[in-house]
């Protein structure tokens, strides 16, 4: 069979369009074929952001339910590490409970609990982008804002749980007599007073998810995102220290002169 004869076949096939709408197509009508493929075509075709966001949020919940071990790791790590930080301070294992030094270490431990979270949030977003699932959703009519709002709400729902539980633990610790004699727990009552810790954790969670979403564009594979994101967060926290130190020591008298100019 040659190319030219194939062409003949194609051209003949093109003639099917000339068939009348009511033509019998192998015992079934054209209408029934349409029905067989286009499910729900008779519905009101109103696509709203609310429906799409709801769909994406429920998808995240279903993913967490079906991959329960990952979901537990995702939510329990900040909780367990934060709990360890608070208890170490309460039992005086970081120094005098409530002392500045102990509080600094405790706050660093609580923040460190959220380090693996950036990996897991980025992993999900990068996976969807690199596996073309994101593209497929866009092609079927998902609006970009629906995608990001839905993804944000899904991640936030899961990450709000450790924040809430951590606050409840701090609340309990604040109103229980301190286990170490002659120690104080005013730092704990200060943390939970007016729900300060809760607001801080909930807002930080939102910031963290948005941060991961933005940085997800820089990764070409989920594994790279998992491996890099925590280090990136650490570097970003200490980068200002490094930059200013480099500026000061690197420029020497020039740096001092520039600072004088600034003043």
């Amino acid at each position: 069979m040659s190319i030219s004869s194939l062409e003949e076949v194609f051209l003949s096939t093109g003639g099917d369009r000339e068939l009348p709408e009511s033509a019998d197509l192998g015992g079934e009508t054209k209408q029934s074929d349409d029905e067989a493929m286009n499910f729900g075509d008779d519905f009101d075709r109103v696509v709203t952001i609310q429906k799409q966001v709801n769909g994406l949020w429920l998808r995240r919940m279903a993913l967490a339910r079906n991959d329960i071990f990952r979901a537990i790791a995702f939510t329990s790590f900040p909780l367990v590490v934060g709990l360890i930080g608070i208890l170490l301070n309460v039992f005086g294992m970081l120094g005098t409970p409530g002392d500045l030094q102990s509080n600094i270490v405790m706050s660093l431990i609580i923040a460190a609990g959220y380090l693996p979270v950036v990996s897991l949030v980025s992993d999900g977003i990068v996976f969807e982008r690199t596996s073309k699932l994101r593209n497929i959703l866009t092609i079927i009519g998902l609006e970009p804002r629906s995608y990001w709002i839905g993804t944000f709400l899904g991640e936030y729902t899961l990450l709000a749980i450790p924040g809430l539980l951590l606050y409840i633990i701090a609340l309990i610790c604040a109103y229980v007599p301190p286990p170490v004699e002659e120690s104080r727990n005013d730092y704990l009552t200060s943390m939970v007073e007016g729900g300060k810790l809760l607001w801080l954790l909930l807002l930080s969670t939102a910031q963290l998810i948005c941060f991961c979403s933005m940085l997800s564009f820089f990764f070409s594979s989920p594994r790279l995102a998992i491996a890099t994101m925590p280090f990136f967060s650490i570097v970003l926290a200490f980068l200002p220290v490094i930059l200013v130190a480099m500026f000061w020591y690197g420029f020497g008298p020039l740096g001092e002169y520039l600072m004088k100019l600034y003043r």
């Binding site: 093109g14 493929m37 075509d41 409530g98 923040a111 073309k132 092609i139 943390m191």
Partner: protein, 302 residues
């Protein structure tokens, strides 16, 4: 991370002895010499830095160490900075993502008169029909679509698609066949906006893919050669997600899902995860997903 103090006379004390613990160095600056507000802003630019500074701050709000923490930004400032950063990150994310779907400027392209006279009769008739009828007359309409790929090694550009005029009406089952390199995939990729055409336009249900992809894509489904599914989502989860994205009303959602499952004989596998399905079942599921509440479906296969 920075903690700035007003009590230091010297400009910089790196690794202050009191703060050398837990592998952390807190740097003390004098606000007489350093742009303190700038540094405070930078200090919380990392989510984890902001969280640790925030927690530290609230430990001293009403406690004995309050005076020692006067150099840390107040609680409300930290909250405002965190909220502000979250908004900035969210806006940046949206705009980075959206740039792939910004409206394109459509350019006109006409083939030469001598080339026009060489067209086969049916091709010429299709061209006339497509160009004379409105965009909304077709489910999918290519009008003078042209796609060039840059030439390699000084060679002239490769014209993959040259003035394609094609209209597919609603309910029509159309197979686009051709020899290798004829430009079939290129034309389909232009519909999906994976490739941007150099000239011409593509319309789906009267909506331009180039200038209004958001509307056009609401009527489009694409089954690629790969089974793009979430391994950890079940068949029903997939169907519900796609139905919601397609705008199926909540009251009809379960009916549509059940209808899909029954018609494609997915019943025994309805609650099975996509990763546990056979290749054939995955294919069936993908085809079903892209047929929900749909006007036009592209099924691409080599």
């Amino acid at each position: 991370m920075f903690i700035c103090t007003r009590h230091s006379n010297q400009f910089l004390h790196l690794c202050h002895a009191r703060n050398l613990f837990a592998g952390t160095d807190l740097v003390y600056f004098s606000d007489e010499t350093v742009p303190l507000n700038i540094l405070r802003g930078i200090a919380v630019c990392s989510p984890h830095g902001a969280l640790s500074i925030g927690v530290l701050r609230i430990t001293g709000e009403c406690s004995e160490i309050r005076s020692e923490l006067c150099v840390v930004p107040p609680y409300w400032q930290i909250i405002v900075i965190i909220a502000g950063e979250a908004i900035v990150f969210a806006i940046a994310t949206y705009f980075i993502d959206r740039r792939d779907f910004l409206p394109l400027q459509e350019q006109e392209f006409q083939i030469q008169k001598d080339e026009l006279s060489n067209l086969d009769d049916d091709v010429a008739a299709e061209r006339t029909s497509v160009l004379t009828r409105s965009e909304s007359a077709y489910s999918l309409r290519f009008a003078n679509l042209r796609k060039l790929f840059p030439g390699k090694g000084g060679q002239p550009p490769l014209e993959a698609v040259k003035a394609l005029n094609l209209g597919i009406t609603r309910g029509e089952l159309f197979g686009l066949l051709g020899a290798n390199g004829a430009g079939k995939t290129t034309a389909i990729l232009c519909v999906m906006r994976v490739l941007y055409p150099n000239a011409g336009s593509v319309h789906i249900e009267g909506h331009s893919v180039g200038t209004n992809f958001t509307e056009a894509s609401k009527h489009l489904g694409v089954v690629t050669q790969h089974n793009t599914l979430w391994e950890k989502l079940s068949c029903t989860d997939h169907l519900r997600l796609f139905a919601r994205v397609r705008g199926v009303p909540p009251s009809q959602l379960e009916a549509v899902v059940q209808s899909c499952i029954e018609r494609l004989e997915l019943g025994p596998y309805a609650n099975r995860l996509a990763g546990q399905l056979s290749g054939g079942m995955k294919r069936k599921l993908v085809m079903t997903l892209h047929s929900i509440n749909l006007m036009f479906s592209l099924q691409h296969s080599a």
